[in-house]
Symmetry: C2
Subunit: 313 residues, 2 copies
Protein backbone atom coordinates (compact mmCIF):
# COMPACT_ATOMS: atom_id res chain seq x y z
CA UNK A 1 0.00 0.00 0.00
CA UNK A 2 1.26 3.44 -0.91
CA UNK A 3 2.28 5.69 1.96
CA UNK A 4 -0.51 8.15 1.20
CA UNK A 5 -3.21 5.50 0.96
CA UNK A 6 -5.20 4.61 4.05
CA UNK A 7 -7.48 1.63 4.42
CA UNK A 8 -10.70 2.15 6.34
CA UNK A 9 -12.57 -0.91 7.61
CA UNK A 10 -16.22 -0.22 8.42
CA UNK A 11 -17.09 -1.99 11.68
CA UNK A 12 -20.55 -0.50 12.16
CA UNK A 13 -22.21 -3.75 11.12
CA UNK A 14 -20.33 -5.61 13.84
CA UNK A 15 -19.06 -3.36 16.64
CA UNK A 16 -21.81 -0.85 15.88
CA UNK A 17 -24.72 -3.26 15.89
CA UNK A 18 -23.76 -5.41 18.86
CA UNK A 19 -25.29 -2.97 21.34
CA UNK A 20 -28.30 -1.54 19.51
CA UNK A 21 -31.85 -2.48 20.49
CA UNK A 22 -33.28 -2.97 17.00
CA UNK A 23 -32.36 -6.13 15.14
CA UNK A 24 -31.73 -5.33 11.49
CA UNK A 25 -32.69 -7.80 8.80
CA UNK A 26 -29.96 -9.52 6.82
CA UNK A 27 -31.23 -7.64 3.77
CA UNK A 28 -30.79 -4.29 5.54
CA UNK A 29 -27.27 -5.25 6.57
CA UNK A 30 -26.46 -6.24 3.00
CA UNK A 31 -27.91 -3.00 1.63
CA UNK A 32 -25.63 -1.15 4.08
CA UNK A 33 -22.70 -3.18 2.70
CA UNK A 34 -23.61 -2.60 -0.95
CA UNK A 35 -23.92 1.13 -0.43
CA UNK A 36 -20.62 1.33 1.47
CA UNK A 37 -18.89 -0.39 -1.43
CA UNK A 38 -20.54 2.04 -3.85
CA UNK A 39 -19.24 4.89 -1.65
CA UNK A 40 -15.73 3.49 -2.00
CA UNK A 41 -15.48 1.67 1.33
CA UNK A 42 -14.61 -1.85 0.26
CA UNK A 43 -13.46 -3.31 3.59
CA UNK A 44 -16.29 -4.22 5.94
CA UNK A 45 -16.45 -6.41 9.03
CA UNK A 46 -19.90 -7.68 8.14
CA UNK A 47 -20.83 -9.72 11.19
CA UNK A 48 -19.73 -11.60 14.27
CA UNK A 49 -19.97 -15.36 14.68
CA UNK A 50 -20.93 -15.22 18.34
CA UNK A 51 -23.68 -17.54 19.59
CA UNK A 52 -27.10 -15.93 18.88
CA UNK A 53 -28.12 -16.36 22.52
CA UNK A 54 -25.31 -13.93 23.47
CA UNK A 55 -25.93 -11.38 20.71
CA UNK A 56 -29.25 -12.00 18.94
CA UNK A 57 -28.32 -9.30 16.40
CA UNK A 58 -25.90 -11.79 14.85
CA UNK A 59 -28.24 -14.77 14.56
CA UNK A 60 -28.10 -14.16 10.80
CA UNK A 61 -24.31 -14.18 10.56
CA UNK A 62 -24.16 -17.09 8.06
CA UNK A 63 -26.70 -15.42 5.79
CA UNK A 64 -24.99 -12.02 6.04
CA UNK A 65 -21.55 -13.49 5.38
CA UNK A 66 -22.73 -15.41 2.32
CA UNK A 67 -24.64 -12.37 1.05
CA UNK A 68 -21.63 -10.15 1.55
CA UNK A 69 -19.42 -12.53 -0.41
CA UNK A 70 -21.75 -12.03 -3.38
CA UNK A 71 -21.22 -8.26 -3.37
CA UNK A 72 -18.74 -7.33 -6.05
CA UNK A 73 -15.74 -5.37 -4.81
CA UNK A 74 -16.40 -6.07 -1.15
CA UNK A 75 -13.65 -7.51 1.00
CA UNK A 76 -15.81 -8.94 3.76
CA UNK A 77 -14.47 -10.05 7.11
CA UNK A 78 -16.08 -11.25 10.32
CA UNK A 79 -15.21 -11.37 13.98
CA UNK A 80 -15.06 -14.78 15.63
CA UNK A 81 -14.98 -15.32 19.38
CA UNK A 82 -13.66 -18.90 19.33
CA UNK A 83 -12.86 -21.95 17.22
CA UNK A 84 -16.51 -22.79 16.69
CA UNK A 85 -17.17 -19.30 15.35
CA UNK A 86 -14.09 -19.49 13.16
CA UNK A 87 -15.26 -22.78 11.72
CA UNK A 88 -18.61 -21.15 10.83
CA UNK A 89 -16.78 -18.24 9.19
CA UNK A 90 -14.61 -20.67 7.19
CA UNK A 91 -17.70 -22.65 6.19
CA UNK A 92 -19.40 -19.47 4.99
CA UNK A 93 -16.42 -18.92 2.71
CA UNK A 94 -15.05 -15.71 4.27
CA UNK A 95 -11.51 -14.92 3.23
CA UNK A 96 -10.77 -12.70 6.24
CA UNK A 97 -11.46 -13.68 9.81
CA UNK A 98 -10.72 -11.56 12.87
CA UNK A 99 -10.07 -12.83 16.35
CA UNK A 100 -9.64 -10.54 19.37
CA UNK A 101 -8.23 -11.07 22.86
CA UNK A 102 -7.60 -8.55 25.60
CA UNK A 103 -4.22 -7.39 26.83
CA UNK A 104 -5.97 -6.94 30.16
CA UNK A 105 -6.50 -10.37 31.65
CA UNK A 106 -9.36 -8.99 33.79
CA UNK A 107 -11.14 -7.65 30.69
CA UNK A 108 -10.58 -10.91 28.86
CA UNK A 109 -12.06 -12.87 31.76
CA UNK A 110 -15.12 -10.62 31.86
CA UNK A 111 -15.50 -10.59 28.07
CA UNK A 112 -15.02 -14.26 27.20
CA UNK A 113 -14.64 -15.98 30.60
CA UNK A 114 -11.14 -17.18 30.03
CA UNK A 115 -7.66 -15.81 30.63
CA UNK A 116 -5.69 -14.00 27.94
CA UNK A 117 -3.29 -16.98 27.85
CA UNK A 118 -6.21 -19.32 27.21
CA UNK A 119 -7.41 -17.01 24.43
CA UNK A 120 -3.95 -17.19 22.84
CA UNK A 121 -4.32 -20.97 22.83
CA UNK A 122 -7.74 -20.56 21.19
CA UNK A 123 -6.13 -18.49 18.46
CA UNK A 124 -3.54 -21.23 17.90
CA UNK A 125 -6.38 -23.73 17.52
CA UNK A 126 -8.08 -21.45 14.98
CA UNK A 127 -4.85 -21.18 12.97
CA UNK A 128 -4.43 -24.97 13.11
CA UNK A 129 -8.04 -25.53 12.00
CA UNK A 130 -7.56 -23.12 9.10
CA UNK A 131 -4.37 -24.89 8.02
CA UNK A 132 -5.85 -28.38 8.39
CA UNK A 133 -8.84 -27.39 6.28
CA UNK A 134 -6.51 -26.39 3.44
CA UNK A 135 -7.72 -22.79 3.72
CA UNK A 136 -4.29 -21.21 3.75
CA UNK A 137 -5.60 -18.37 1.59
CA UNK A 138 -7.96 -17.28 4.39
CA UNK A 139 -6.34 -14.41 6.27
CA UNK A 140 -6.49 -14.59 10.04
CA UNK A 141 -6.27 -11.27 11.81
CA UNK A 142 -5.55 -11.08 15.53
CA UNK A 143 -6.52 -8.08 17.60
CA UNK A 144 -5.26 -6.93 20.99
CA UNK A 145 -8.10 -5.25 22.88
CA UNK A 146 -7.64 -2.86 25.84
CA UNK A 147 -4.16 -2.18 24.44
CA UNK A 148 -4.11 1.34 25.92
CA UNK A 149 -5.68 0.64 29.28
CA UNK A 150 -8.66 -1.08 30.82
CA UNK A 151 -11.67 0.18 32.76
CA UNK A 152 -11.29 -2.81 35.11
CA UNK A 153 -7.54 -3.25 35.47
CA UNK A 154 -6.46 0.32 34.74
CA UNK A 155 -2.98 0.54 33.28
CA UNK A 156 -1.89 -1.96 30.63
CA UNK A 157 1.86 -2.15 30.10
CA UNK A 158 3.28 -1.54 26.66
CA UNK A 159 5.46 -4.65 27.12
CA UNK A 160 2.33 -6.76 27.68
CA UNK A 161 0.87 -5.54 24.39
CA UNK A 162 4.13 -5.99 22.51
CA UNK A 163 4.58 -9.47 23.98
CA UNK A 164 1.08 -10.42 22.81
CA UNK A 165 1.74 -9.04 19.33
CA UNK A 166 4.87 -11.20 19.10
CA UNK A 167 3.00 -14.24 20.36
CA UNK A 168 0.16 -13.71 17.89
CA UNK A 169 2.60 -13.26 14.99
CA UNK A 170 4.41 -16.44 16.04
CA UNK A 171 1.06 -18.20 16.24
CA UNK A 172 0.42 -17.30 12.60
CA UNK A 173 -1.54 -14.04 12.56
CA UNK A 174 -1.71 -12.58 9.05
CA UNK A 175 -2.67 -9.13 10.37
CA UNK A 176 -2.60 -7.36 13.72
CA UNK A 177 -5.16 -4.97 15.18
CA UNK A 178 -4.44 -2.77 18.17
CA UNK A 179 -7.64 -1.68 19.90
CA UNK A 180 -8.44 1.06 22.37
CA UNK A 181 -11.57 -0.82 23.41
CA UNK A 182 -12.52 1.54 26.25
CA UNK A 183 -11.37 4.90 24.89
CA UNK A 184 -8.35 5.37 27.17
CA UNK A 185 -5.67 6.08 24.55
CA UNK A 186 -4.00 9.43 24.09
CA UNK A 187 -1.78 10.57 21.19
CA UNK A 188 1.48 10.27 23.14
CA UNK A 189 0.65 6.71 24.09
CA UNK A 190 -0.38 5.89 20.51
CA UNK A 191 2.88 7.27 19.08
CA UNK A 192 4.91 5.32 21.64
CA UNK A 193 3.13 2.00 21.26
CA UNK A 194 2.44 1.99 17.52
CA UNK A 195 6.02 2.78 16.56
CA UNK A 196 7.13 -0.28 18.53
CA UNK A 197 4.29 -2.45 17.20
CA UNK A 198 5.25 -1.58 13.62
CA UNK A 199 8.87 -2.50 14.35
CA UNK A 200 7.67 -5.96 15.39
CA UNK A 201 5.17 -6.54 12.61
CA UNK A 202 7.35 -5.63 9.62
CA UNK A 203 5.31 -6.32 6.49
CA UNK A 204 2.31 -7.75 8.37
CA UNK A 205 -0.60 -5.26 8.12
CA UNK A 206 -1.51 -3.36 11.27
CA UNK A 207 -4.86 -1.72 12.00
CA UNK A 208 -5.74 0.69 14.79
CA UNK A 209 -9.19 0.41 16.30
CA UNK A 210 -10.02 3.55 18.27
CA UNK A 211 -13.04 4.59 20.28
CA UNK A 212 -13.86 8.26 20.77
CA UNK A 213 -15.13 7.81 24.32
CA UNK A 214 -12.98 10.60 25.74
CA UNK A 215 -12.80 12.84 22.70
CA UNK A 216 -9.31 11.88 21.57
CA UNK A 217 -10.29 9.41 18.82
CA UNK A 218 -9.28 11.56 15.85
CA UNK A 219 -6.20 12.97 17.60
CA UNK A 220 -5.19 9.35 18.10
CA UNK A 221 -5.70 8.64 14.40
CA UNK A 222 -3.29 11.48 13.57
CA UNK A 223 -0.76 10.09 16.06
CA UNK A 224 -1.06 6.59 14.58
CA UNK A 225 -0.71 8.01 11.09
CA UNK A 226 2.50 9.77 12.16
CA UNK A 227 3.73 6.44 13.53
CA UNK A 228 3.18 4.81 10.14
CA UNK A 229 -0.21 3.14 10.61
CA UNK A 230 -2.24 3.14 7.39
CA UNK A 231 -5.31 1.16 8.40
CA UNK A 232 -8.17 2.10 10.73
CA UNK A 233 -11.45 0.64 11.89
CA UNK A 234 -14.36 3.05 12.14
CA UNK A 235 -18.11 2.99 12.37
CA UNK A 236 -20.73 4.92 10.40
CA UNK A 237 -22.23 7.55 12.69
CA UNK A 238 -19.88 6.46 15.48
CA UNK A 239 -22.27 3.63 16.26
CA UNK A 240 -21.11 1.10 18.79
CA UNK A 241 -19.15 0.35 21.88
CA UNK A 242 -18.29 -2.59 24.09
CA UNK A 243 -21.06 -4.13 26.21
CA UNK A 244 -18.52 -5.06 28.88
CA UNK A 245 -16.76 -1.70 29.20
CA UNK A 246 -18.79 0.87 31.15
CA UNK A 247 -19.27 4.18 29.29
CA UNK A 248 -17.18 2.97 26.36
CA UNK A 249 -19.55 4.48 23.83
CA UNK A 250 -18.63 4.96 20.27
CA UNK A 251 -16.14 3.83 17.71
CA UNK A 252 -14.55 6.66 15.84
CA UNK A 253 -16.99 7.92 13.24
CA UNK A 254 -16.36 6.82 9.64
CA UNK A 255 -17.41 10.12 8.05
CA UNK A 256 -15.25 12.21 10.39
CA UNK A 257 -12.31 9.81 10.07
CA UNK A 258 -12.42 9.98 6.28
CA UNK A 259 -12.70 13.79 6.50
CA UNK A 260 -9.63 13.92 8.75
CA UNK A 261 -7.60 11.51 6.61
CA UNK A 262 -8.40 13.24 3.32
CA UNK A 263 -7.63 16.61 4.97
CA UNK A 264 -4.27 15.17 6.01
CA UNK A 265 -3.55 14.49 2.35
CA UNK A 266 -4.30 10.79 2.55
CA UNK A 267 -6.32 8.89 0.00
CA UNK A 268 -9.16 6.74 1.38
CA UNK A 269 -11.11 6.32 -1.85
CA UNK A 270 -14.29 7.02 0.13
CA UNK A 271 -16.96 9.59 -0.79
CA UNK A 272 -18.07 11.43 2.36
CA UNK A 273 -21.29 12.77 0.81
CA UNK A 274 -22.30 9.20 -0.05
CA UNK A 275 -21.55 8.15 3.55
CA UNK A 276 -23.90 10.89 4.78
CA UNK A 277 -26.72 9.43 2.70
CA UNK A 278 -26.06 5.87 3.97
CA UNK A 279 -25.95 7.20 7.49
CA UNK A 280 -29.43 8.69 7.06
CA UNK A 281 -30.81 5.39 5.84
CA UNK A 282 -29.20 3.33 8.61
CA UNK A 283 -30.31 5.85 11.25
CA UNK A 284 -33.88 5.50 9.98
CA UNK A 285 -33.62 1.74 10.61
CA UNK A 286 -32.38 2.23 14.17
CA UNK A 287 -34.76 4.62 15.91
CA UNK A 288 -33.47 5.97 19.20
CA UNK A 289 -29.85 4.97 18.64
CA UNK A 290 -27.31 7.76 18.95
CA UNK A 291 -25.64 8.71 15.69
CA UNK A 292 -22.84 11.15 16.39
CA UNK A 293 -20.44 12.99 14.14
CA UNK A 294 -19.24 16.49 13.46
CA UNK A 295 -19.42 16.43 9.67
CA UNK A 296 -22.99 15.16 9.74
CA UNK A 297 -23.86 18.12 12.00
CA UNK A 298 -21.78 20.92 10.48
CA UNK A 299 -21.16 19.81 6.91
CA UNK A 300 -17.88 19.76 5.02
CA UNK A 301 -15.84 22.97 4.86
CA UNK A 302 -16.13 24.91 1.61
CA UNK A 303 -12.38 24.46 1.39
CA UNK A 304 -12.48 20.65 1.58
CA UNK A 305 -10.67 19.03 -1.33
CA UNK A 306 -10.76 15.25 -1.10
CA UNK A 307 -7.93 13.33 -2.70
CA UNK A 308 -10.48 11.30 -4.65
CA UNK A 309 -11.74 14.46 -6.35
CA UNK A 310 -8.20 15.29 -7.39
CA UNK A 311 -8.06 11.96 -9.21
CA UNK A 312 -5.36 10.57 -6.93
CA UNK A 313 -6.43 6.96 -7.10
CA UNK B 1 7.47 29.63 29.59
CA UNK B 2 8.90 26.13 29.87
CA UNK B 3 8.47 23.87 26.86
CA UNK B 4 6.26 21.47 28.82
CA UNK B 5 4.02 24.21 30.22
CA UNK B 6 0.89 25.18 28.34
CA UNK B 7 -1.22 28.24 29.01
CA UNK B 8 -4.98 27.85 28.74
CA UNK B 9 -7.13 30.97 28.43
CA UNK B 10 -10.77 30.42 29.34
CA UNK B 11 -12.96 32.22 26.80
CA UNK B 12 -16.31 30.84 27.94
CA UNK B 13 -17.20 34.14 29.58
CA UNK B 14 -16.70 35.98 26.30
CA UNK B 15 -16.89 33.69 23.23
CA UNK B 16 -19.08 31.28 25.18
CA UNK B 17 -21.62 33.77 26.45
CA UNK B 18 -22.02 35.92 23.34
CA UNK B 19 -24.57 33.54 21.84
CA UNK B 20 -26.49 32.19 24.86
CA UNK B 21 -30.06 33.23 25.56
CA UNK B 22 -29.78 33.76 29.31
CA UNK B 23 -28.00 36.88 30.54
CA UNK B 24 -25.83 36.02 33.52
CA UNK B 25 -25.41 38.51 36.34
CA UNK B 26 -22.03 40.13 36.87
CA UNK B 27 -21.84 38.26 40.18
CA UNK B 28 -22.36 34.91 38.43
CA UNK B 29 -19.65 35.77 35.93
CA UNK B 30 -17.29 36.70 38.73
CA UNK B 31 -18.07 33.50 40.63
CA UNK B 32 -17.21 31.59 37.45
CA UNK B 33 -13.91 33.53 37.33
CA UNK B 34 -13.09 32.95 41.01
CA UNK B 35 -13.71 29.24 40.72
CA UNK B 36 -11.64 28.95 37.52
CA UNK B 37 -8.72 30.58 39.34
CA UNK B 38 -9.19 28.20 42.28
CA UNK B 39 -9.11 25.33 39.73
CA UNK B 40 -5.77 26.62 38.46
CA UNK B 41 -6.98 28.44 35.35
CA UNK B 42 -5.62 31.94 35.90
CA UNK B 43 -6.04 33.37 32.39
CA UNK B 44 -9.59 34.38 31.56
CA UNK B 45 -11.04 36.59 28.84
CA UNK B 46 -13.69 37.97 31.18
CA UNK B 47 -15.83 40.08 28.86
CA UNK B 48 -16.16 41.95 25.59
CA UNK B 49 -16.44 45.72 25.32
CA UNK B 50 -18.95 45.63 22.47
CA UNK B 51 -21.88 48.04 22.56
CA UNK B 52 -24.66 46.54 24.76
CA UNK B 53 -27.20 47.04 21.95
CA UNK B 54 -25.20 44.53 19.87
CA UNK B 55 -24.60 41.97 22.62
CA UNK B 56 -26.75 42.67 25.70
CA UNK B 57 -24.87 39.92 27.56
CA UNK B 58 -21.92 42.32 27.86
CA UNK B 59 -23.80 45.38 29.15
CA UNK B 60 -22.01 44.74 32.44
CA UNK B 61 -18.51 44.64 30.97
CA UNK B 62 -17.16 47.51 33.09
CA UNK B 63 -18.46 45.92 36.28
CA UNK B 64 -17.16 42.47 35.32
CA UNK B 65 -13.74 43.84 34.35
CA UNK B 66 -13.35 45.76 37.60
CA UNK B 67 -14.61 42.78 39.63
CA UNK B 68 -12.20 40.46 37.82
CA UNK B 69 -9.28 42.75 38.58
CA UNK B 70 -10.05 42.31 42.27
CA UNK B 71 -9.69 38.52 42.07
CA UNK B 72 -6.29 37.50 43.35
CA UNK B 73 -4.24 35.43 40.94
CA UNK B 74 -6.45 36.19 37.94
CA UNK B 75 -4.90 37.56 34.76
CA UNK B 76 -8.03 39.08 33.27
CA UNK B 77 -8.30 40.15 29.65
CA UNK B 78 -11.13 41.45 27.50
CA UNK B 79 -11.99 41.57 23.84
CA UNK B 80 -12.49 44.99 22.27
CA UNK B 81 -14.10 45.56 18.85
CA UNK B 82 -12.76 49.08 18.30
CA UNK B 83 -11.02 52.09 19.80
CA UNK B 84 -14.00 53.04 21.92
CA UNK B 85 -14.12 49.56 23.44
CA UNK B 86 -10.37 49.64 24.00
CA UNK B 87 -10.67 52.96 25.81
CA UNK B 88 -13.31 51.44 28.10
CA UNK B 89 -11.03 48.46 28.79
CA UNK B 90 -8.11 50.80 29.57
CA UNK B 91 -10.36 52.88 31.85
CA UNK B 92 -11.45 49.73 33.71
CA UNK B 93 -7.79 49.06 34.40
CA UNK B 94 -7.36 45.85 32.42
CA UNK B 95 -3.75 44.91 31.75
CA UNK B 96 -4.52 42.69 28.76
CA UNK B 97 -6.72 43.73 25.87
CA UNK B 98 -7.49 41.62 22.83
CA UNK B 99 -8.44 42.89 19.39
CA UNK B 100 -9.47 40.61 16.51
CA UNK B 101 -9.76 41.10 12.77
CA UNK B 102 -10.50 38.58 10.04
CA UNK B 103 -8.07 37.33 7.45
CA UNK B 104 -11.13 36.97 5.25
CA UNK B 105 -12.16 40.43 4.13
CA UNK B 106 -15.72 39.16 3.52
CA UNK B 107 -15.95 37.84 7.08
CA UNK B 108 -14.54 41.08 8.46
CA UNK B 109 -17.11 43.11 6.52
CA UNK B 110 -19.94 40.95 7.81
CA UNK B 111 -18.58 40.89 11.37
CA UNK B 112 -17.65 44.55 11.92
CA UNK B 113 -18.79 46.30 8.70
CA UNK B 114 -15.35 47.40 7.61
CA UNK B 115 -12.56 45.89 5.54
CA UNK B 116 -9.65 44.01 7.06
CA UNK B 117 -7.38 46.89 6.05
CA UNK B 118 -9.63 49.33 7.93
CA UNK B 119 -9.52 47.03 10.96
CA UNK B 120 -5.72 47.09 10.84
CA UNK B 121 -5.92 50.89 10.98
CA UNK B 122 -8.27 50.57 13.97
CA UNK B 123 -5.67 48.45 15.71
CA UNK B 124 -3.01 51.08 15.03
CA UNK B 125 -5.30 53.68 16.62
CA UNK B 126 -5.75 51.44 19.67
CA UNK B 127 -1.98 51.05 20.03
CA UNK B 128 -1.54 54.83 19.69
CA UNK B 129 -4.26 55.49 22.29
CA UNK B 130 -2.59 53.03 24.68
CA UNK B 131 0.80 54.68 24.20
CA UNK B 132 -0.57 58.24 24.51
CA UNK B 133 -2.33 57.32 27.75
CA UNK B 134 0.99 56.23 29.25
CA UNK B 135 -0.34 52.67 29.57
CA UNK B 136 2.69 50.98 28.02
CA UNK B 137 2.36 48.14 30.56
CA UNK B 138 -1.03 47.19 29.12
CA UNK B 139 -0.52 44.29 26.73
CA UNK B 140 -2.35 44.49 23.42
CA UNK B 141 -3.05 41.18 21.76
CA UNK B 142 -4.09 40.99 18.12
CA UNK B 143 -5.97 38.04 16.72
CA UNK B 144 -6.40 36.85 13.15
CA UNK B 145 -9.84 35.28 12.73
CA UNK B 146 -10.82 32.90 9.89
CA UNK B 147 -7.10 32.10 9.59
CA UNK B 148 -7.82 28.60 8.27
CA UNK B 149 -10.72 29.38 5.98
CA UNK B 150 -14.02 31.20 5.91
CA UNK B 151 -17.61 30.04 5.53
CA UNK B 152 -18.23 33.04 3.24
CA UNK B 153 -15.02 33.37 1.23
CA UNK B 154 -13.84 29.76 1.42
CA UNK B 155 -10.09 29.40 1.18
CA UNK B 156 -7.85 31.86 3.04
CA UNK B 157 -4.26 31.94 1.83
CA UNK B 158 -1.46 31.25 4.28
CA UNK B 159 0.36 34.28 2.87
CA UNK B 160 -2.60 36.52 3.75
CA UNK B 161 -2.48 35.32 7.35
CA UNK B 162 1.29 35.64 7.58
CA UNK B 163 1.14 39.12 6.05
CA UNK B 164 -1.43 40.16 8.64
CA UNK B 165 0.68 38.74 11.46
CA UNK B 166 3.66 40.80 10.25
CA UNK B 167 1.50 43.91 9.94
CA UNK B 168 0.07 43.45 13.43
CA UNK B 169 3.52 42.88 14.93
CA UNK B 170 4.78 46.02 13.16
CA UNK B 171 1.75 47.89 14.47
CA UNK B 172 2.78 46.99 18.01
CA UNK B 173 0.92 43.80 18.95
CA UNK B 174 2.31 42.30 22.18
CA UNK B 175 0.74 38.91 21.45
CA UNK B 176 -0.75 37.15 18.44
CA UNK B 177 -3.75 34.85 18.30
CA UNK B 178 -4.54 32.65 15.32
CA UNK B 179 -8.19 31.69 15.22
CA UNK B 180 -10.11 28.99 13.39
CA UNK B 181 -13.31 30.96 13.83
CA UNK B 182 -15.50 28.67 11.75
CA UNK B 183 -13.96 25.26 12.47
CA UNK B 184 -12.31 24.70 9.09
CA UNK B 185 -8.76 23.89 10.24
CA UNK B 186 -7.16 20.48 9.93
CA UNK B 187 -3.94 19.25 11.52
CA UNK B 188 -1.87 19.47 8.34
CA UNK B 189 -2.92 23.07 7.81
CA UNK B 190 -2.22 23.89 11.47
CA UNK B 191 1.28 22.40 11.30
CA UNK B 192 2.02 24.30 8.10
CA UNK B 193 0.70 27.67 9.20
CA UNK B 194 1.76 27.67 12.85
CA UNK B 195 5.36 26.76 12.11
CA UNK B 196 5.58 29.80 9.84
CA UNK B 197 3.70 32.06 12.28
CA UNK B 198 6.14 31.11 15.06
CA UNK B 199 9.06 31.93 12.77
CA UNK B 200 7.63 35.44 12.37
CA UNK B 201 6.66 36.05 15.97
CA UNK B 202 9.92 35.09 17.65
CA UNK B 203 9.53 35.81 21.36
CA UNK B 204 6.04 37.34 21.00
CA UNK B 205 3.48 34.96 22.57
CA UNK B 206 1.19 33.09 20.18
CA UNK B 207 -2.17 31.57 21.04
CA UNK B 208 -4.28 29.22 18.96
CA UNK B 209 -8.02 29.61 19.14
CA UNK B 210 -9.75 26.51 17.77
CA UNK B 211 -13.37 25.57 17.34
CA UNK B 212 -14.45 21.93 17.28
CA UNK B 213 -17.16 22.44 14.69
CA UNK B 214 -15.95 19.60 12.47
CA UNK B 215 -14.50 17.33 15.13
CA UNK B 216 -10.85 18.19 14.57
CA UNK B 217 -10.42 20.66 17.45
CA UNK B 218 -8.27 18.45 19.66
CA UNK B 219 -6.34 16.96 16.74
CA UNK B 220 -5.54 20.57 15.80
CA UNK B 221 -4.32 21.26 19.35
CA UNK B 222 -1.89 18.34 19.02
CA UNK B 223 -0.70 19.66 15.65
CA UNK B 224 -0.20 23.17 17.08
CA UNK B 225 1.63 21.70 20.06
CA UNK B 226 3.97 19.86 17.68
CA UNK B 227 4.55 23.16 15.88
CA UNK B 228 5.64 24.77 19.15
CA UNK B 229 2.44 26.56 20.22
CA UNK B 230 2.08 26.58 24.02
CA UNK B 231 -1.06 28.68 24.47
CA UNK B 232 -4.68 27.85 23.68
CA UNK B 233 -8.09 29.42 24.11
CA UNK B 234 -10.88 27.11 25.21
CA UNK B 235 -14.34 27.29 26.68
CA UNK B 236 -15.84 25.43 29.62
CA UNK B 237 -18.29 22.86 28.28
CA UNK B 238 -17.41 23.89 24.73
CA UNK B 239 -19.81 26.80 25.06
CA UNK B 240 -19.82 29.32 22.26
CA UNK B 241 -19.41 30.04 18.61
CA UNK B 242 -19.54 32.96 16.22
CA UNK B 243 -22.92 34.60 15.54
CA UNK B 244 -21.82 35.45 12.01
CA UNK B 245 -20.47 32.06 10.96
CA UNK B 246 -23.22 29.56 10.17
CA UNK B 247 -22.90 26.24 12.04
CA UNK B 248 -19.71 27.40 13.74
CA UNK B 249 -20.77 25.95 17.05
CA UNK B 250 -18.39 25.38 19.85
CA UNK B 251 -14.99 26.41 21.01
CA UNK B 252 -12.80 23.51 22.00
CA UNK B 253 -13.88 22.32 25.43
CA UNK B 254 -11.65 23.38 28.35
CA UNK B 255 -12.00 20.10 30.27
CA UNK B 256 -11.18 17.96 27.24
CA UNK B 257 -8.33 20.26 26.19
CA UNK B 258 -6.73 20.06 29.63
CA UNK B 259 -7.20 16.28 29.57
CA UNK B 260 -5.47 16.06 26.20
CA UNK B 261 -2.61 18.39 27.17
CA UNK B 262 -1.91 16.67 30.49
CA UNK B 263 -2.07 13.29 28.70
CA UNK B 264 0.52 14.61 26.25
CA UNK B 265 2.82 15.24 29.21
CA UNK B 266 2.16 18.97 29.34
CA UNK B 267 1.57 20.93 32.51
CA UNK B 268 -1.50 23.17 32.53
CA UNK B 269 -1.80 23.63 36.28
CA UNK B 270 -5.55 23.04 35.94
CA UNK B 271 -7.60 20.56 37.98
CA UNK B 272 -10.07 18.78 35.68
CA UNK B 273 -12.28 17.53 38.52
CA UNK B 274 -12.69 21.11 39.70
CA UNK B 275 -13.61 22.17 36.15
CA UNK B 276 -16.34 19.52 36.12
CA UNK B 277 -17.88 21.05 39.24
CA UNK B 278 -17.75 24.59 37.78
CA UNK B 279 -19.28 23.28 34.59
CA UNK B 280 -22.22 21.89 36.55
CA UNK B 281 -22.81 25.25 38.24
CA UNK B 282 -22.55 27.26 35.02
CA UNK B 283 -24.80 24.79 33.17
CA UNK B 284 -27.42 25.26 35.92
CA UNK B 285 -27.36 29.01 35.20
CA UNK B 286 -27.85 28.50 31.46
CA UNK B 287 -30.84 26.19 31.00
CA UNK B 288 -31.21 24.84 27.48
CA UNK B 289 -27.70 25.72 26.35
CA UNK B 290 -25.65 22.84 24.95
CA UNK B 291 -22.72 21.81 27.14
CA UNK B 292 -20.63 19.30 25.28
CA UNK B 293 -17.52 17.36 26.22
CA UNK B 294 -16.25 13.82 26.30
CA UNK B 295 -14.71 13.86 29.79
CA UNK B 296 -17.90 15.24 31.31
CA UNK B 297 -19.78 12.33 29.70
CA UNK B 298 -17.33 9.45 30.15
CA UNK B 299 -15.12 10.52 33.06
CA UNK B 300 -11.35 10.45 33.26
CA UNK B 301 -9.55 7.19 32.54
CA UNK B 302 -8.41 5.24 35.59
CA UNK B 303 -4.95 5.57 34.10
CA UNK B 304 -5.00 9.38 33.95
CA UNK B 305 -2.04 10.92 35.74
CA UNK B 306 -2.12 14.71 35.53
CA UNK B 307 1.17 16.56 35.70
CA UNK B 308 -0.21 18.67 38.55
CA UNK B 309 -0.67 15.55 40.68
CA UNK B 310 2.96 14.68 40.08
CA UNK B 311 3.93 18.01 41.59
CA UNK B 312 5.43 19.30 38.34
CA UNK B 313 4.70 22.95 38.90
Amino acid sequence: MKQDHVRICEVGLRDGLQMVKTILSAEQKLEWCRRMVAAGCTEIEVTSFVPPRIVPQFADSDEVARGALAIEGLHASALVPNLKGAQRAFDAGLQKVHYVLSASNEHNLKNVRRSTAESVEDFRRIVAARNESGLSRVKLGAGVATAFGCTIAGRVDETTVLGLVETLLDAGADAIAIADTVGYANPRQVRGLMRRVLELTGSTPVTCHFHDTRGLGLANVVAALESGVRSFDSSLGGLGGCPFAPNATGNINTEDTVFLLESEGMHTGIDIEALAAIRETVASWLPGEPFVGAIARAGLPKTFAPRAAAGAA
